[in-house]
């Protein structure tokens, strides 16, 4: 069984927001809903000794997700391949999961009365295509694949590069890894 994960190489990311736009456009999200914002860190330092980087965020599809067990309707689920998703028929937007997520990955949809979030484009995964944010990135800063497959790019990167996770200390065991310069 696969275990999907993503590696984001922030050395390559230039903060163009194309992933944000690809995701919201092709997933037909309400205009105010953003699944994967890209943070600009800096420039830090003092002119002219500066440093600038960017940090794309999204649902981390944690191995220990704080959002799944807390869902009273069982709308929030995690598949065997690690993808965390929300069954829109069962969700009633009690927002417990929104309050649970340390990454702010979940968003309330006021039209449908449900909560939504990134699901690694599971419809595209079913067709063996990459998630939109990965496919659209010109910089190839987002690498996606099966962490259990030793031949996959993500496996190699996670095991050879210095990768870090956000909020490691909270024990979520995020499956989005970051390569930081």
């Amino acid at each position: 069984m696969a275990r999907y994960a993503m590696v984001i190489d922030t050395r390559r990311c230039i903060g163009c927001h194309s992933c944000t736009v690809a995701c919201r456009t092709h997933n037909h999200l309400p205009v105010e809903m953003i699944y994967n914002p890209v943070m600009t860190i800096g420039p830090t330092g003092k002119f002219p000794s500066l440093h600038l980087s960017h940090l794309p965020l999204l649902c981390m599809h944690c191995a220990n997700p704080p959002c799944v067990d807390g869902c009273p309707t069982r709308a929030s689920q995690q598949r065997e391949d690690g993808v965390v998703f929300i069954d829109q028929n069962k969700c009633i937007s009690c927002k417990t999961c929104i309050m649970s997520c340390p990454y702010g990955a979940r968003k309330a949809n006021h039209e449908t009365g449900t909560v939504q979030k990134c699901d690694f484009c599971r419809d595209r995964l079913a067709e063996e295509k990459l998630p939109h944010c990965v496919a659209t990135c010109h910089q190839k800063a987002r690498i996606f694949g099966d962490l259990d497959d030793p031949t996959s790019e993500v496996y190699k990167l996670v095991n050879t590069e210095k990768v870090t996770r956000i909020h490691e200390e909270l024990g979520t065991e995020a499956h989005v890894f970051y390569i930081v310069s």
């Binding site: 163009c16 194309s18 092709h26 420039p43 910089q139």
Partner: protein, 745 residues
């Protein structure tokens, strides 16, 4: 979430994005003449499947509620927004009649055309204008590449703009260019090569996305590029870093140049560029000693105004001195294609009589980018390459002078302006003057996607189809030898047509019938690619089976044919420029407005302004109506250093006025360390299409428009090419009081 499943009857069209010059490949899934979805084309050499913010919203653009879909004729006052729907045929007939009248009473030269960047078949516009008899077509060419192209061609026989990074480049200089925010595929190439050890030097007042990845960042005073380039020449010559063999065998004028640049020391440049002399030296050495190396063109120099030519000229010589010309991994002069029909060959330039050429507005002063200079250079390139660069772009009327001709009737009246793919009040310098001209011109016709302020003021508005509705040839206006084709995904929606149809339509009404044998763009394109010899029977077949033509890279071609200059060598002392009356060697000219020459002005306007480059998710003035994009950056911000902000009591996010002698605009403050304390960088392109589009609001097109600040009087323009000043101007900044709303429209 909801990926459309492919059904029977779905065709995949090899279209393109067309929202910027990178022109990434897009696959369009079409059924029953409707585009179901789009995605980046993984097989396209430019983008390998990637698409930026703009490419991704193609479908939102295609059928946006605000698109112009039917030809409109003004009824009621100018700018009142009262339209009558008419047919294309009627519109073209009426427009042609009017143009005919104007030609009769005022001469063909009284008709001018204004263009934007890309999105159009400019050769068709030039063809029409030549056949009509008017020399007064223009784009923003003076701000975008054209002065660079012409000066570099004057010096070495063709502009070496093909950066052969893949050929093993060891050093890339990004001079006033930020692909990290504007050219994604380009940035990808840079990222890959950096990983292989290529050095990246970024010359930019701001710590941009690209500068953040650089090995060396030179944050110079905006507009001081000429001083920097001259100092680099000095360092490379006086530290013996030049390619002796190349200089000896393939250049003329080295000794004169050596003497000429003696005065341009790094210490001299330091006070003008605000850079440490050691940093200047470091940059020059890094470029000269990491070979092969490239200097990537960027608009910054073209937009510097009066010092543009000097800076471009100095920068151009750097390649020759270091032997970075036509060598593998360096900057290549591909020359025009031998294989396909270039833009110039289909522009019908020969049809424009001499006496009409002489009337080209601006050609009396700015010879380089008008007929005098173009002809001189084109004759030389024809001798060696067999073909000339495109006249559309490279040989154009001087836009500010045309706007002033509309207003003052000097040198003669301009009575009609045909606008295609531009909103001049947004994109041309001195926006207030442009707006005045648009309001005053007798006859205004606009071909557009949207009801921009210019369209609003027009007598006729023609609806134009975009990328998915038209075929595209990507070939750098026939100035390079590569070509990429894209096909249309669907026929234009509603009653839209293409700009080609407009020019041809007008041409047919005005008796140019014989000269327009191609009924559709595809036919015209087929004619152009026919000689490539792929044995295809249509342009669509070419796209479907071949898609591109990339001839084998040849290096050191000058060895066989020489350089297309009078001496057949690289002219470090340029006889062509001398002949035109310009300095044969790059000679320092100070920025358009500066504190050294005009300390009194600097008292009132103590900060240095640059009106900056592109930023995501927009492209020039486009996409402000796409709310999905607008959401990410919905207000204009200008960059200001924390020290300066504190001095003026401005906090991050405060609305503030940025003012120059020409006027003032309102943007929000982005307090950042990314620029020097005395520098202010405004965003460009801002207008508010959600506001009232009619007079007097006109979508508040002046309120946050950086071009309100820029300077276009002759004194500010480059004497060689006429570039007006967008960069390196003097300004002041002050906080906006509560309730201070619009600027004066």
């Amino acid at each position: 979430m909801n990926v459309e499943k492919e059904m029977d009857g779905v065709e995949v069209k090899k279209s393109c994005c067309f929202f910027c010059h990178q022109n990434c490949g897009v696959l369009a899934y079409v059924k029953d003449d409707k585009v179901l979805r789009i995605e980046g084309d993984p097989d396209h050499p430019t983008n390998s499947g990637g698409l930026c913010c703009r490419g991704n919203i193609a479908l939102l653009h295609l059928d946006h509620p605000a698109r112009v879909n039917y030809p409109l004729k003004r009824k009621g006052a100018r700018g009142a927004g009262e339209w009558e729907r008419i047919t294309w045929d009627h519109a073209l007939t009426e427009i042609a009649t009017r143009l005919g009248n104007i030609k009769e009473h005022y001469g063909a030269e009284a008709v001018a055309t204004a263009g934007g960047t890309l999105r159009t078949d400019d050769w068709a516009r030039r063809r029409f204008m030549n056949l009509f008899g008017s020399p007064n077509g223009f784009h923003n060419s003076h701000l975008c590449w054209v002065p660079t192209f012409l000066i570099e061609t004057a010096i070495s026989g063709w502009c070496p703009f093909e950066t052969d990074l893949g050929g093993g480049s060891r050093c890339l200089v990004q001079w006033g260019h930020n692909p990290g925010a504007s050219g994604m595929p380009e940035m990808r190439g840079i990222t890959e090569l950096k990983r292989q050890g290529m050095k990246l030097i970024v010359i930019d007042p701001k710590f941009t996305e690209t500068a953040a990845k650089a090995d060396l960042w030179l944050p110079l005073r905006p507009g001081s590029d000429a001083a920097l380039a001259l100092a680099w020449l000095h360092v490379i010559i006086y530290e013996g870093l030049y390619d002796q063999q190349f200089v000896e065998n393939w250049t003329v004028g080295f000794d004169r140049l050596t003497q000429h640049v003696a005065q341009y020391t790094p210490e001299w440049a330091a006070t003008l560029t605000w850079l440490d002399p050691e940093l200047i030296r470091q940059g020059a050495r890094m470029y000269a000693q990491n070979k092969p190396g490239n200097i990537q063109w960027g608009v910054a120099l073209d937009q510097s105004g009066k010092s543009a030519g000097a800076g471009i000229h100095a920068r151009a010589l750097l390649r020759a001195l270091t032997g970075n010309l036509d060598a593998p991994g360096s900057d290549l002069m591909t020359g025009p294609s031998k294989d396909f029909i270039t833009d110039e060959e289909i522009e019908a330039n020969d049809w424009l009589p001499e006496e009409q050429r002489a009337k080209q507005i601006g050609s009396d002063r700015f010879k380089l980018t008008t007929w005098p200079g173009y002809k001189e250079i084109a004759d030389l390139t024809r001798e060696v390459w067999g073909k000339a660069p495109t006249a559309e772009w490279m040989c154009e009327a001087h836009p500010p002078s045309v706007f002033r001709a509309i207003l003052t009737e000097k040198p003669y009246p301009v009575k009609a302006l045909l606008v295609s793919a531009t909103n001049p009040v947004n994109s041309y310098g001195n926006a207030k003057e442009v707006l005045e001209a648009l309001r005053k011109v007798d006859f205004l016709v606009t071909c557009e996607y949207w009801l921009t302020p210019t369209a609003m003021l027009s007598d006729y508005v023609l609806p134009i189809g975009g990328a998915l509705e038209r075929p595209v040839i990507t070939s750098t206006y026939g100035c390079s030898d590569t070509i990429i084709g894209s096909q249309r995904a669907i026929q234009p929606m509603y009653e839209r047509k293409l700009d080609y149809d407009f020019w041809r339509g007008l041409g047919l009404k005005l008796g140019q019938g014989d000269m327009w044998p191609w009924e559709t763009v595809e036919e015209a394109y087929y004619y152009r690619i026919y000689n490539l010899g792929y044995g295809v029977s249509s342009f669509d077949e070419f796209v479907e089976t071949q898609r591109f033509h990339f001839p084998e890279r040849e290096y050191y071609r000058y060895g066989q044919i020489g350089f297309a200059t009078p001496s057949r060598k690289v002219e470090l002392y340029s006889t062509t420029l001398e002949k035109l009356g310009y300095p044969p060697m790059p000679t320092y000219i100070s920025p358009a407005e500066n504190e050294v020459d005009d300390p009194e002005l600097a008292q009132e306007y103590p900060l240095v302004l640059t009106t900056a480059g592109g930023f995501m998710p927009y492209h020039h003035s486009e996409h402000f109506q796409i709310k999905e994009l607008r959401f990410l950056r919905h207000e204009p911000y200008f960059d200001i250093n924390p020290v300066t902000a504190a001095e003026y009591g401005i906090k991050d996010g405060d609305w503030a006025w940025v003012e120059t002698r020409r006027g003032r605009i309102r943007q929000k403050a982005n307090v950042t360390e990314a620029i020097a304390p005395r520098v202010v960088m405004t965003q460009r392109g801002w207008w508010y299409p959600e506001r009232d589009a009619t007079e007097p609001e006109l979508s508040r097109c002046l309120e946050s428009n950086a071009n309100v600040l820029t300077a276009t009087d002759d004194a500010f323009c480059d004497p060689q090419g006429g570039s007006w000043a967008n960069r390196g101007l003097l300004c002041k900044v002050y906080k906006a009081q509560n309730g201070q709303g619009k600027a004066d429209n």
